[in-house]
């Protein structure tokens, strides 16, 4: 399992942030992209329920010649979210990727407003 930090935890202005084309090892079967959510541990992270974060990811199975949408776009809003009484620490999309070699991933993380958060991509 390898985790790539797309955005270190910090406050970012509204913008589109890019994950450049990155190689995926042949042994990898799934990926996860995640951003940190607001919790009682740190209420300064993504506290606004009116601000959104959107993932738009693509994968390639031919070394980057052509690209396919991967579970995108996917988005959510800020604020503390509870799942059966337990705070959700991250907003994420985790999923399988097409089999093959010469695979790559790229994409963007879009912030609708200035938001303190951090984003990672993990290969599983």
């Amino acid at each position: 399992m390898t985790t790539i930090t797309v955005l270190p935890v910090s406050t970012y202005p509204a913008n589109v942030y890019t994950l450049s084309s990155t190689a995926i090892a042949d042994s990898v079967t799934s990926l996860q992209i995640a951003v940190k959510r607001c919790t009682t541990v740190d209420l300064t992270i993504w506290p606004s329920t009116s601000s959104t974060i959107t993932f738009d990811m693509q994968t390639s199975i031919d070394g980057g010649s052509t690209w396919q949408s991967w579970n995108s776009p996917a988005s959510g809003v800020g604020g503390i979210q509870l799942a059966r009484g337990v705070e959700i620490p991250e907003m994420y999309v985790q999923g399988t990727i097409p089999a093959g070699t010469s695979r790559r991933i790229r994409g963007t993380v879009t912030l609708s407003a200035a938001i303190k958060t951090g984003a990672t991509v993990t290969v599983l």
Binding site: S69, P73, A74, S75, A83, I88
Partner: protein, 242 residues
């Protein structure tokens, strides 16, 4: 062209007994040369349980089931899809599917059985994918392998944020405090092979989703057909004489 058949039974709610979660359809009558697609969602009573996805059963003529894919969210909520080819028409059968949990389930998730016609008699090699998300807007995708395929999916929100909606064709439900979910499919066939997504928007923020998305291969094109008026034997005879 893959077509969802009108014989498909209605969605049913899952029930729980001990460690087993079960869905059983009302009776239905699938036509000959059809595929039965079982979509089963699971609702563990506590987070962190492990599911075992058991092979579906059906009354009537025995069917051979293949699991297309399954997925479990580490927090809670599971989904699986199975398929079986039904060669001859059947009357008044029922279909059941179970999930055995490492702890106990609550039931109150959902199961659908869809009957599809116009499909290839073999679905070997059809694409599938799984995902888990906590995003409210989702577009799970799969890379299809052939032209003219139909793409379908099912998803469960273990946090029960509300009945999901979709710009595609969806049957959705919501059971407060238990699960929300839906089974959705594209309204038309895909074009050439490539990435196809199905839109799935949770009813509220903070879902815990598990999705299975899959490809249904279209019936093979008819073999080469000579234009009317051409006699093969006569043509071969003329070629040999020449």
């Amino acid at each position: 062209m893959p077509t969802r058949d009108g014989s498909s039974p209605a969605r049913v709610a899952t029930t729980a007994a001990g460690a087993v979660e079960t869905g059983t359809t009302a009776s239905f009558s699938p036509p000959a040369d059809s595929w039965l697609l079982v979509h089963m969602l699971g609702n563990p009573s506590t987070a962190g349980q492990t599911p075992t996805f058991n092979t579906p059963t059906s009354t009537g003529t025995a069917l051979s089931w293949t699991k297309i894919a399954s997925v479990n969210n580490a927090s809670g909520g599971a989904a699986t899809v199975w398929r079986a080819y039904n060669s001859a028409s059947q009357t008044g059968i029922t279909c059941s599917c179970t999930i055995t949990w490492s702890g106990t389930p609550n039931g109150q998730a959902a199961m659908w059985v869809d009957v599809w016609t116009g499909c290839n008699t073999t679905q070997t090699g059809a694409a599938s994918a799984t995902s888990t998300t906590t995003t409210q807007t989702n577009n799970p995708s799969v890379t299809t392998t052939a032209s003219g395929s139909r793409v379908a999916m099912c998803g469960v929100d273990w946090n029960a944020t509300g009945a999901p909606t979709s710009s595609d064709t969806i049957d959705a439900y919501h059971t407060a405090g238990q699960t929300s979910g839906g089974r959705a499919y594209k309204a038309s066939d895909s074009g050439g092979a490539g990435s196809v997504s199905v839109n799935f928007v949770d009813g509220g923020s903070g879902p815990i989703n598990s999705f299975v998305i899959y490809e249904i291969l279209a019936a093979a094109a008819a073999g080469g057909i000579l234009p009317p008026g051409i006699n093969v034997n006569a043509s071969v005879g003329r070629a040999a004489n020449f």
